[in-house]
Symmetry: D2
Subunit: 342 residues, 4 copies
């Protein structure tokens, strides 16, 4: 059986990545594509790497006939996303890749995103899309909220430790490095090749990055009390890949063991042998996340490093993984592509 | 039905790329891996991006039991390759990725590779592996010789033009730019990141690159008279991708039409609209080759540009395409992965 | 004695490069900086790499007092440049980095730049700024027109050959590869890191690049008859550097000899030993141009390769070299910085 | 007056960087160059970017006549360096760029570098070369030990804070990211472009990097009690540049103030306005170090970020700065080159 898929916002990188993954998915078929400013164009004009595929033309959202669609991926900017999803048929399954439905607390949304949420009823029913930790809810959900790509990486490096009471909750530092595609295809000076290549810098320093809202929500929920982490993202001269170096206080071997236990049956979460460090290049283009744990010369300190591809496991691959659950097909369907190295 | 595959020389980039592609191939299974200097290691130690796969350990070639193997990919250096293949059971199907069986003329081999061929009987039965042009022979072959990656790119840009008598055979210039993975994983100063990134240079200038031997053999055979092209490769600060800019004398529109006709039914050869130029980034990680044709302000001149991924269409993807034919499965099986962009 | 310098359009890459070079120039001093959209900002805010310098604030052009200025560098876009220069005091020395005064023939300007020239009297007095070939005129000039960066590279690879009658004038092909900074700091999708890195493509194919106007003008003037070259630029995933691979018909040794003779006393033009190929990485950040000559296996064919840094020798370094002549100081003053490698 | 300089180990990146900087130094002149494996070659063959310079041939160390030399830069590997320096005339001034004379405690040397020191008398007289903090001693020294490039970066981010008692000494984390040239020109698989580009990973995790020995020595000396930091270096896909993100517990504003005070008169240490983050691209190719301080949403936490060019301020530029002091010339002589951006 073929599931008919609509992708709203197909002219951005996450939209293109969805199309790439669906191209070899055994049961999904792209039935509609929207891209408001590029309506009327063929996908192969907007993204020449997809020109070999037989795809529908880009349309305006309001011109898409949703009647035969089984599931919608919404890859629009936040704020726009909630307005668009509010207008969709209420029985249509939706995976949203924006930030609009990640936060359960409307006040947190308003605080971090600068204005009140406009679709509070939808927000209440949305399920947080970190697949491995919300599988049951996702299977039953109508609306799933894809996580932030940095937020996913940090959580893969920390959730089992917080759940297991293995680390000091008041001293968690996430030093994260990300490739540039996470910022999307937007025209900003700091995303130019000449500005970015052969360099590195921190941004959103001082606890101001919006993905902190997800860390706060999730880690506090697991711990049963407020947890606040430090989080400093850095921009790398690379297109894909996030690596989070997480500094915690706890027993390194116990921490490594906790990951081995928690992720033993996970198809996409690979725990490296103790002392080994993952690399973004070894997950590129794939839905895998590599997690490594090391001790330090200072006793009682551990370093957890997680690496994933922001466009795949951090965004569009995660979205398809969730959609697979929602549609009742094999969770790994279409997602076992091996990483592309070199 | 599953075909059991052995990969000899699995510790190099083309070996790893074969494993990557076979990972999602519907009917191939990796049954044996060799890597002499890394015998005893797991593939995931040599190439951590493949660590999620259930693969046999690397062995020494002589320790592999070939009895249950359906097809061997030989990804060894030239000269070594001929010696190894000469020792394999004579009914075992082999796709060789080295240069050892590309040239039909033993004297040409000796001239370009610096010593006499050591397995002349095998050389005579080998079929040249440019799939689209040798399909019938490849289906029936026991030994197929994968082409040079540059040689493949140049031929996709020129064969229909030479066959159609559309261009001046004495004035063909191939200015080619290649990523660095084509040089393999060998430890050479000029392949270091610090030497290579943020720069570009020509190498093997003056008609000395060995892939010229393939151009000479193939173009002369098509034309029915000697054809010598000029060929200057350049090294780019990129890992994957070859782009060949080919300068010819002929009618641009007729040339474009010739490609559209010749490649109309080819699953992997994409002819762009007249005047458009392909880019390596739009074929990265895939088995596709994009071909574009433009005219010039000088009448009677045309520019043909071909782009492919040297590790996929230029090497390991081509090898699997040939193996599919040899094994009687769908030619495109396992190869429809969409390019990875960005 | 200190020369007071004004830089108009200091918020772009060529403006910043002028400031970088003047920072260690023995006799120039930056006295005024304009940047209309960034007026009121300090240069160190616009370009943090210059924050250690004691520089005037960015102003609007009309707010600059030109009375004490000895020389103006005009790093504005074409069309804007001619309008601004027309308003400057007529005795003020000007080096223009735009395309506005490069072409002596007003019709050629109108054809290539899409509208009639608006300051024809200035155009007639402007001197073409390829220093090594116009030294005398530049010394006496009030207005010097900096060359296109690609145009400079191609000319260094060809002028002595055309002047010496050493090559077939009807069969010259310039296959050029350029880093991305040549396109400036403008916000265009194709200049984003995610679009550009790990790839390469041709642009302005088919004889449409505007720098062809300079080739036509200069080569025809040298030859005393019309000369039309083929010219295909490619964009590289690098910030700085142009490499031009030029295919000509002529005797390679004679060609090499011509360069050795013509460039023997040139402080910035380095002729490599016969058969060696230059690399952009070996001129990065410097005012040097490396030129190499090779033969081909086909007799009577030669390959000339020239490499320079588009922002330095191709633009701002050239501008300072010309300004040195105009101001009567040592031609090499401030320009002997060695290339930065790696 | 001209100082005659010998560079031992000129065929590595730090050797080449010394030559680059001396090329425009007002009073230094390269009088001798050694490169054992490349003895007899010209520097322009080993490093084509230096081919325009008039330099002595590379010699074997034992063939260099030291009689007219004013100062030696020793850019040899550790262990080799101590053996070579032990043989030099005892009145010859030496700046060593290796790790051999950085540690005052012979046991620390033996522990971190795996064997006993072989020139203990020299080790006792050597001065640690972090210029800004050892100026007086360096002026009077005969032998100065250049610091580790990572060690320099971390110290610029921490020394005034430890000296001022502004931070918790038991909770200092240095998450450092470095370009690849710091690893030198050695042939290692992990330094290949194909391995390194488009990726990032941590190395020497768990408190094993040798530069920790310098942190321990210096920070403990300042604090007057043992100080142990956590330090995790990461390798970036860039050639030059180190950025250290340092997590401390203390008052952010007081910390920023301490830097402003401590570095107020430093020619090469630039303190950014509070809340701004430095970038490696803004110090590339220069002797400047940018330092930025931010607060965090968690009170009492601060983030200090320092960026410098590992080959310049982290190594060869530092070496020349020290040599300037030792030779009695202006400390900044030859070092005011502005960073190269883009």
């Amino acid at each position: 059986m073929t599931q008919k898929i609509a992708i709203l916002g197909a002219s951005g990188y996450t939209g293109a990545e969805l199309v790439r993954l669906i191209a070899t998915h055994p049961s999904m078929q792209v039935a509609a594509l929207s891209g408001d400013r590029k309506a009327g164009m063929r996908m192969g004009e907007v993204f020449p790497h997809l020109r070999h595929l037989d795809l529908p033309e880009l349309q305006r959202i309001e011109d898409i006939d949703m009647s035969g669609i089984d599931l919608v991926f919404c890859a629009l900017p936040h704020a726009t996303s909630q307005a668009v999803i509010a207008e969709l048929p209420r029985d249509l399954k939706v995976v949203d890749l924006s930030a609009d439905f990640r936060l359960r607390d409307p006040e947190a949304y308003a605080k971090w995103y600068g204005k009140p949420h406009g679709a509070l009823d939808l927000q209440q029913q949305a399920v947080y899309g970190l697949t491995e930790f919300y599988r049951g809810d996702i299977r039953a959900a109508r609306l799933v909220a894809g996580t932030g790509c940095n937020a996913a990486t940090g959580q893969y490096a920390l959730r089992p430790l917080i759940a297991g009471g293995l680390i000091d909750l008041d001293d968690i530092i996430i030093d994260l490095k990300t490739g540039v595609s996470g910022a999307g295809r937007s025209l900003k000076e700091n995303l130019l090749h000449a500005e970015l290549s052969e360099g590195a810098h921190a941004y959103a320093i001082g606890g101001t990055h919006r993905h902190l809202a997800e860390f706060d929500q999730e880690f506090s929920a697991i711990a049963g009390r407020p947890v606040k982490v430090q989080f400093t993202p850095h921009l790398l001269p690379a297109n894909r890949g996030i690596i989070a170096t997480v500094y915690v206080k706890g027993d390194p071997q116990a921490i490594h063991g906790a990951f081995e236990t928690a992720y033993a049956d996970e198809p996409f979460l690979e725990v490296l042998p103790f002392g080994q460090a993952p690399s973004t290049r070894h997950v590129r283009g794939s839905n895998f996340c590599h997690v490594g744990v090391s001790g330090d010369r200072i006793e009682g300190r551990a370093i957890v490093i997680a690496a994933l591809d922001n466009l795949t496991k951090g965004s569009s691959g995660q979205a398809i993984q969730n959609a697979n659950l929602m549609l009742g097909v094999e969770e790994t369907a279409g997602l076992m592509l091996a990483p592309v190295f070199p």
